[in-house]
Symmetry: C2
Subunit: 226 residues, 2 copies
């Protein structure tokens, strides 16, 4: 059983407020999992009995809409926690969490996290701030969905992917999403997404080679957004 003290999740998440004793306790009660690309961590409607720490790999939080399409609400990266909201209000998961890459996660049971939560003010405050940040992001995202065109949302998403998940050595976006997944973030039909990518490719905004996407004209993409 590995320790929690040096774990990447601790550095970035609310967990940074935990004391040495709390970390030792957490190391005892946690379970580590390996999750393969495409597999779920939990599904919409499922009762999650704790919180997941993302140690490695990126996953999507998504919701199946009535028309059968998977709308991606948020991408979650290493150092973040999953399932905080469900834990606090003690409800089934509102979203599904599915691995976009091979992942390493730890599971900490509800009772243990709630213990830290009630005894460590700084920890609960951190978690609260994270959720408030999520709420702001969700509100902004909602306004974007309602008011911006698909083209602008694609431009935004490409720059977001570069900023958040970085580039490979060859300069291509590190996080490789399928066209369907990209469409799921933007909130559009897969064909529309593909068509716009082709257009961006032709007009020199991006370069596409197979599954790799290179951002070629950051300035013009940014200009599209305002």
């Amino acid at each position: 059983m590995s320790k929690c003290e040096q774990c990447i999740v601790r550095q970035f998440s609310s967990l940074k407020a935990l004391t040495k004793e709390e970390l030792l306790k957490m190391a005892d009660c946690k379970t580590s999992y390996t999750i393969k690309k495409g597999e779920p961590i939990f599904q919409e409607g499922e009762i999650t009995k704790g919180v997941f720490c993302i140690k490695e790999g990126v996953c999507k939080l998504s919701k199946l809409s009535a028309n059968g399409k998977d709308q991606i609400v948020k991408l979650v990266k290493p150092g973040e926690l999953l399932g905080q909201r469900s834990m606090i209000i003690d409800e089934p998961a509102n979203l599904s969490a599915i691995a976009l890459e091979d992942m390493e996660v730890c599971f900490i049971p509800r009772t243990d996290v709630m213990g830290f939560f009630n005894n460590n003010n700084q920890f609960s405050m951190n978690m609260m701030k994270t959720i408030c940040g999520d709420l702001k992001d969700a509100d902004d995202h909602m306004v974007d969905m309602a008011q911006k065109t698909v083209k602008v949302r694609l431009a935004e998403t490409l720059l977001y992917l570069e900023n958040t998940f970085g580039k490979n050595d060859d300069g291509s976006l590190h996080l490789q999403l399928s066209r369907e997944e990209l469409a799921g973030i933007i909130g559009t039909a897969t064909e529309s997404c593909i068509r716009l990518l082709s257009e961006f490719n032709k007009t020199g905004l991006i370069k596409i080679t197979g599954k790799k996407i290179f951002i070629e004209d950051r300035v013009k993409l940014k200009r599209m957004i305002d």
Copy 2:
């Protein structure tokens, strides 16, 4: 200076966890305001130095989008608190709050609320749950915006307005919104909203007389949504 003990806000909001002593303290530090229809309680970007309790009247939380349209993110009714998120993460308001009716609100300074927050576990837990609920609503709303048509969103909104704010004696929706505001909730152009209302009127789903809207066929409206 009126007391807080019997106030409607207390019954419905996180404040129900406050002790008698805390309520007395709150009555001392609060300021009451009357806000006329159309006036702001606070604006996007403004630094709010506390929390507002809605005693009477409904207001909208909205955000101005790049194209100059006001997207309504949430409607807030008596018994709810405003500005909790900004208070917790100590950031300027992300949304504007504007009265849709004449309102009565109380303002409680940040330091006082944070005092209750740090000393009364049940209170902070309640507030946390409220914010978690808002996050769920925002996520769901986002998926709707991305995946549902304007027509379906209008049907949803009409039923929501009936369920949440009730009907007048004559059966019309109690909360009277302008077409522009209704369009702002749905996330569409005002003309599109008006056109669809006419269509709903012609097909007998609703009845329009002046500014009054009557829901005539609840069943068909519900069926549209699934």
